[in-house]
Symmetry: C2
């Protein structure tokens, strides 16, 4: 006998947890659609040549390759086999680039897509790090150009979603890579590679602390002037406390600039993003400038975002992204600038569960019809059919057993209502409804069951669960 076991680094949920997870997926999907994003899905694997055009060493080492038996055998027979033909996607961005380039002439630009699928990375498994995990991405892809106004849409939809997820206060933090690059230009660091390297060091502020970062930057490797580093570290410590404060910070950064055009562009873009965010009605308490955000990758070129939960800073960013100049340069000559954000839902769910913020949900089953007497099974089945046709998720007990045990099952399974059809009810033409949450019960005429249960379901529960 084989021990049944999931592969390491995967998160598998029990049904009640899966329902909670699915509700989060539904909130995200509904938010993305509310803001006019269109769904796409791509295959789990791509041709290796297509997937690995751009990637460096680390990503390639984390890629999972896919091979049929035939292809395995062929490889085994060769001394120096080529990489397998297929590989699992490690994010949704490369598949998006391939999708947009492949279907370019059938899409309308700006192309606003959302995609919620699993991705795969052969990372060392750690607590809360998964090898298979959901990403829920939105991106807006322009052709030749894309107004910075779109950079405000991503945080606006993320704001709606995190509000609807109801997992506590959060802040969407904004920065702009052009502003940062302009600051470097003003400091005399004009080499792009060095800018990226310094940004990487700055990005380690949270982990290493300002002293260690300062030491690195004035040290041999970078050799920056102490006052330049001091100015830089002051700048990256900047956080806005309100919309007007954010504008004031931008004014100050502009005023103090030695004249970098890149900085001026970054400031102007952030001003536009802030303005559209306010026009979209996003409350100023929920977004802020944070001039420390660089986003590890040198991929982003303009606006960058991170999102943190106010009461759980230890979780780190739960939704990040940014603006990039060209999505699919490796596949097409068309210039496709874009902006996007991504929620890593598997990790977020795990973290929220660890922090006790999400637990198991109520069952998707809303009503259980128990079986008191086999003789009344036809009445039970007819009742279940009426409830289902009324849009109410209903389970019928087909195997029978003691009523107490059936009620206990409903309670433990998180099913709120039990609709009882016993001898008494059949004779009287009624149904007894038990509300297991409210510990309450009432009797209703048989032909009024559906509206009655609907009314109950529509009322918010006072009694909290979990």
């Amino acid at each position: 006998m084989i021990k049944p076991h999931t592969a390491p680094g995967t998160l598998e949920l029990l049904p009640t947890e899966q329902i909670a997870f699915q509700r989060m997926l539904d909130v995200i999907r509904s938010g993305y659609e509310r803001f006019g994003f269109l769904p796409i899905e791509t295959p789990a694997y791509e041709l290796t040549d297509v997937l690995l055009t751009k990637t460096g060493g680390e990503t390639e080492r984390q890629v999972y390759f896919v091979q049929s038996t035939g292809s395995l055998e062929k490889a085994a027979a060769q001394d120096d086999p080529a990489l397998p033909e297929l590989a699992l996607r490690f994010d949704l961005t490369v598949p998006l680039a391939r999708y947009v380039a492949e279907h370019e002439h059938q899409l309308t630009f700006p192309f606003r897509r959302y995609q919620m699928q699993r991705v795969y990375r052969g990372e060392r498994p750690q607590r809360g790090r998964y090898r298979e995990f959901y990403q829920c991405d939105i991106d807006i892809i322009g052709k030749d150009g894309l107004s910075p106004r779109h950079d405000a849409e991503c945080p606006a939809v993320i704001h709606t979603i995190f509000t609807d997820l109801n997992i506590g206060a959060f802040t969407i933090q904004l920065n702009n890579r052009k502003l940062m690059r302009g600051v470097f230009e003003d400091l005399g660091i004009t080499d792009t590679d060095q800018q990226v390297a310094v940004l990487r060091e700055v990005d380690k502020l949270d982990k290493r602390g300002p002293d260690a970062v300062r030491e690195t930057l004035v040290g041999d490797c970078y050799g920056l002037a102490a006052d330049a580093v001091a100015a830089l570290l002051t700048l990256v410590a900047t956080r806005s406390t309100s919309h007007d404060d954010a504008l004031a910070i931008l004014d100050r950064v502009q005023r103090e600039s030695a004249g970098s055009a890149t900085l001026a562009t970054g400031v102007a873009e952030l001003r536009e993003v802030l303005s559209v965010l306010r026009d979209l009605g996003v409350p100023e308490s929920d977004y802020a400038l944070n001039l420390s955000i660089a986003r590890g990758l040198d991929y982003y070129t303009g606006t960058v975002y991170e999102t943190t939960l106010d009461d759980h800073p230890e979780i780190g960013s739960v939704c990040s992204g940014g603006r990039y100049d060209d999505l699919a340069g490796q596949y097409t000559k068309s210039k496709l600038p874009g902006v996007g954000m991504s929620i890593g839902l598997t990790r977020l769910f795990w973290q929220l569960r660890e922090a006790g913020i999400v637990g198991t949900a109520e069952s998707t089953v809303q009503v259980l019809v128990p079986q008191l007497d086999e003789a009344h099974l036809p009445q039970c089945l007819a009742l279940a059919t009426d409830l289902r046709q009324g849009g109410i998720n209903t389970e019928v007990v087909l195997d029978g057993g003691k009523l107490g045990k059936q009620l206990k099952y409903a309670d433990r399974a998180g099913i709120r209502f039990v609709a009882i059809v016993g001898a008494q009810e059949v004779e009287a033409g009624t149904v007894t409804i038990k509300d297991l949450r409210r510990q309450d019960q009432f009797t209703v005429a048989r032909d009024e069951v559906v509206p009655a249960v609907r009314v109950e379901l529509a009322q918010p529960l006072d009694v909290s669960r979990d």
Copy 2:
């Protein structure tokens, strides 16, 4: 530059097709939940040892193995490398068996689960055959026993789903492997392997025709008596035309039996399934006995199902399944009988599209707010926010351009409403709503836009699209 291309044997959809596909997924999910099935998801890959316990040669040859770079390198260094540690699931049944066995003590039985995920088979790619495809499965798993009444629940939920999918008339066809085995016993074919072999031949009736099958069965390989074969072929040609006809057929089969107890059990089970199906309100026009259904696999032990579209017999079965004695014997000593059905949605979608039954859907975007004048962008954004907060999926044009072009975009994208805020509207405190489907327009006060659009969206469209 790399040519952007999906891997062979995958189906990738444009957004409007993806919306149509997603609507089908939503109908299926909602049907499964209506009948009290709980969601689970499992990882795309399983440990190879766990996945390949039961399978024969063909399945194993179709399995896709998964390997990280490190594991590839290790294998390349060995003369006779073991199979890779991980493999992609080829169906949802083996992962279900592993799931139920792994989490057995945390589940309640009967365990009613649905699962809608992609599976992977390294088949030779053919028109309409995919290597990656969605399966949408329901199963009910009992512990030690499971009433045949559950065998009626699967076709009842499938009936609801195919009705809601609105893809034309369909028939859910039923048979029972015990009835068939009993018939063999009555004919003197008592060896189980030979029964399975004969059932396999009978299963080829559609492809080979009765004459070829008759010839095989009376031939050297099987050596059956000509009148036994004639009786068998008459039996398997039996189809019921109504509920009462189905019962009459069962009476006749029972009456004509030479006394097989297995046959009597099969007949009794089918009677119970038919009775519960009727009690659940499934119309008798939509189900039938079809005594030819054997379902290739020797996996099934009781009720078996196939579902065909009445107007498209060429498509074959679009939803199949059956009853099995023991789900997870390879992983647990517990006896776990079950019954289930599966919709292969990727193939079904492709077939329906080929047959012109489904096409592209209306956009998920319900309202487009065009941009007439940049000066009114704040009003456009505020309107979009109100619509979105009212639950209406809304896109705002942020880049501007000519109104005619923006309207054309909405029309081509399948967006039904356009909500215009121009200088006139801003001054009058109104919004002009264009209904692109009805070719109609009206003006409404700014603060009545949301209820007005809601009313419009709630009204069924007379004008058909596509």
